[in-house]
């Protein structure tokens, strides 16, 4: 919903831009274990999501490697809290052959302004279009 859903908007735009048989697009609203289970067995994976950072700059696009994410330090109060990094580390130990050789995480800074709508705000719409261009180039490189 709203800018929080920019990842889904980017995916849908990419689907239109990249009609290739060797690409698969998935819209997911999950994290942690389920997210990692969804990427197992693929060769290369790009994850796109909105984020709210302490040094928030609305519309900023950033790229992360999984190594830049910190594993959970202690048991978590709910399955939500087994974060992506911990879940990925778990699978690296248990199913190393299924881990994609490339995992990149692209994020767009948003302001979670708590307004419900299905469309994006203008700055995030612009950022989404820019991210689509970046990813198209990256995919063509790989």
């Amino acid at each position: 919903m709203g800018d929080d859903g920019v990842g889904i908007h980017v995916i849908r735009m990419l689907k239109k831009s990249l009609a290739r048989d060797d690409l698969e697009f998935k819209e997911l609203s999950v994290g942690g274990l389920k997210l990692v289970e969804e990427i197992l067995g693929y060769e290369k994976v790009f994850i796109i999501d909105s984020v709210d950072m302490d040094d928030r700059q609305i519309g900023r696009i950033r790229e992360f490697s999984p190594e830049q994410f910190k594993a959970t330090e202690q048991p978590s109060p709910s399955p939500h809290v087994l974060n992506f990094a911990t879940a990925l580390e778990l699978y690296k130990r248990l199913e190393p052959s299924k881990i994609p050789s490339t995992i990149r995480i692209f994020t767009i800074d948003i302001d979670p302004d708590f307004t419900f709508r299905e469309s994006l705000s203008p700055p995030i719409q612009k950022a989404a279009a820019n991210l689509v261009e970046i990813i198209v180039q990256r995919i063509e490189q790989v």
Partner: protein
């Protein structure tokens, strides 16, 4: 374009916040648990076609979309006044049993496991699933992942997808399963039954075999006397998919039993200004604050609550395990919050056995899986037992089937008051004379974690986990300890 603005909105995930206040002697004076909850879904669904609800509400939560999808589908049956054919009900229950297997497995090994396998007071850097795997071995770890994954494969076979299944429709399900799929499910279910037995044996060895852990489970620090709620079949046995809601009092006597559709006659919600979560309570007893006992309407709806309201389990091995648990812990109802972990494993056993039973049901491949609704839609209520408690979806529509009103009582909310009380009780029992260590704080959190609480939708904050903030204040209301998981 229609714009719906809701203020305040707590759809995005927030902080789970525990505040513990100490007196002059450094003992616990009070403790509060606060959390923002997602309630926006109820509002923005208004005006949408009701048949979209199973797909929309399954996005409420990345952990239990199957629970919302199933409760929503049952609500649609009621809205359209249609009774699905037997094969459709069995397929829904089969998928739902597979979901319980995956969910309870994850909770035991990944979330509560570190507390017991690594130890409640172990250094926090070691209390995680990675250390659990190091301790129990890669082979066990691989088996956990395999059985979780197999259960998700069953969900995909029946529901179309491993995540966010999309097969529930008013009057049934969208597709039948083939004999080949049934045979695969049967093979998986056989393995899940063996895995559940293995998991119970691990619990026996690591938890019940350790006198300190048993004493911890039975200690007053983790005992909270409340009413209990859960769904039972016509023989008062646990049922996740269908039945009547039964409530027992703190002495174990039946207090009330009603169809889920009557929930408004039995449940009310109390509101406090310091938390977005409401406090549901039993209407006939009334809200008396965050206190337990027979005169307080606080109730629990958890795996332990389900076993407390039931008179048994509907499958043989689970029944034997249920009896063993009740015999070991003494008279029912069992008030020890930490016994919820054991109850969860009894339920894991039941879910696996039920999967197997349904996979062998001669009717399960019957191609008649839907009755097309012909009635004018109006209002309907659907309920299931989610892993964390009773889940209710209530929809009202116009005659075109467009939503006019939505009310969701999500599983964790049922337990809000009891979670708050359990945290306070654990803090009172563990924090003495101002002495607070990381291990003690973790043991306070264990009271919270036993409920397997679930507040937010899919995670979107970096590094991708629900923040939890635990603060301890001295008499001058100055923070003396702050444990914050970023």
């Amino acid at each position: 374009m229609k714009t719906v603005t809701i203020n305040p909105v707590t759809r995005l995930e927030g902080h789970g916040k525990i505040s513990i206040f100490l007196n002059d002697e450094g003992n616990v004076e009070n403790a509060y648990f606060q959390v923002p909850e997602l309630r926006g879904f109820e509002k923005f669904c208004e005006g949408r076609p009701v048949e979209e609800m199973p797909d929309i509400t399954s996005r409420i939560c990345g952990v239990c979309p199957e629970a919302h999808h199933t409760a929503s589908t049952k609500a649609l049956d009621a809205v359209f006044h249609v009774d699905p054919p037997p094969a459709a009900k069995k397929l829904r229950e089969l998928l739902y049993s597979a979901f319980f297997v995956a969910d309870h497995t994850t909770h035991f090994y990944v979330l509560s496991g570190p507390d017991f396998i690594i130890g409640p007071t172990a250094p926090k850097a070691e209390r995680n699933i990675l250390s659990v795997i190091s301790k129990v071995g890669l082979e066990v770890g691989s088996s956990v992942i395999k059985h979780r994954s197999d259960a998700l494969d069953v969900i995909a076979m029946i529901g179309g997808k491993r995540i966010h299944p999309s097969f529930g429709v008013p009057g049934g399900v969208s597709k039948a399963i083939t004999e080949s799929e049934r045979a695969k499910i049967e093979t998986i279910a056989e393995s899940e039954v063996e895995f559940a037995k293995f998991t119970l044996s691990i619990f026996d060895k690591i938890v019940l075999g350790n006198k300190d852990y048993v004493n911890l489970i039975l200690s007053d620090t983790y005992a909270t006397e409340t009413y209990y709620m859960g769904t039972v079949d016509d023989q008062n046995r646990v049922n996740f998919y269908d039945g009547k809601i039964r409530v027992v009092d703190p002495d174990g006597n039946e207090f009330e039993k009603y169809p889920a559709g009557d929930y408004q006659q039995h449940i009310s919600e109390h509101v406090e200004p310091y938390t977005y979560l409401k406090y549901p309570y039993l209407k006939k007893v009334g809200w008396k604050g965050l206190v337990g006992g027979k005169n307080s309407g606080v109730y629990r709806a958890t795996p332990l609550a389900r076993l407390n309201v039931a008179e048994g389990m509907a499958t043989p091995i689970a029944q034997a395990e249920y009896k063993r648990m009740c015999d070991t812990l003494g008279k029912k109802p069992i008030h020890s919050t930490l016994a919820t972990h054991w109850a969860r494993l009894v339920e894991l056993m039941y879910a696996a056995e039920r999967m197997l039973e349904l996979s062998r049901d001669p009717d399960i491949t019957n191609p008649t899986v839907r009755i097309i609704p012909t009635e004018v839609p109006d209002e309907g209520i659907g309920a299931v037992e989610a892993p964390r408690g009773t889940l209710i979806h209530h929809y009202k529509t116009d005659e075109q089937g467009m939503l006019k009103g939505v009310n969701l009582i999500v599983a964790t909310v049922n337990n809000h008051a009891a979670i708050s009380m359990s945290i306070k009780q654990a803090a009172e029992g563990l924090i003495k004379n101002g002495e607070v260590s990381d291990g003690i704080l973790n043991m306070v959190e264990m009271a919270f974690r036993a409920y397997d609480p679930c507040y937010a939708c899919a995670t979107h904050t970096l590094p991708g986990q629900m923040p939890l903030d635990l603060k301890i204040y001295n008499k001058q209301r100055i923070v003396t300890h702050n444990l914050r998981r970023p």
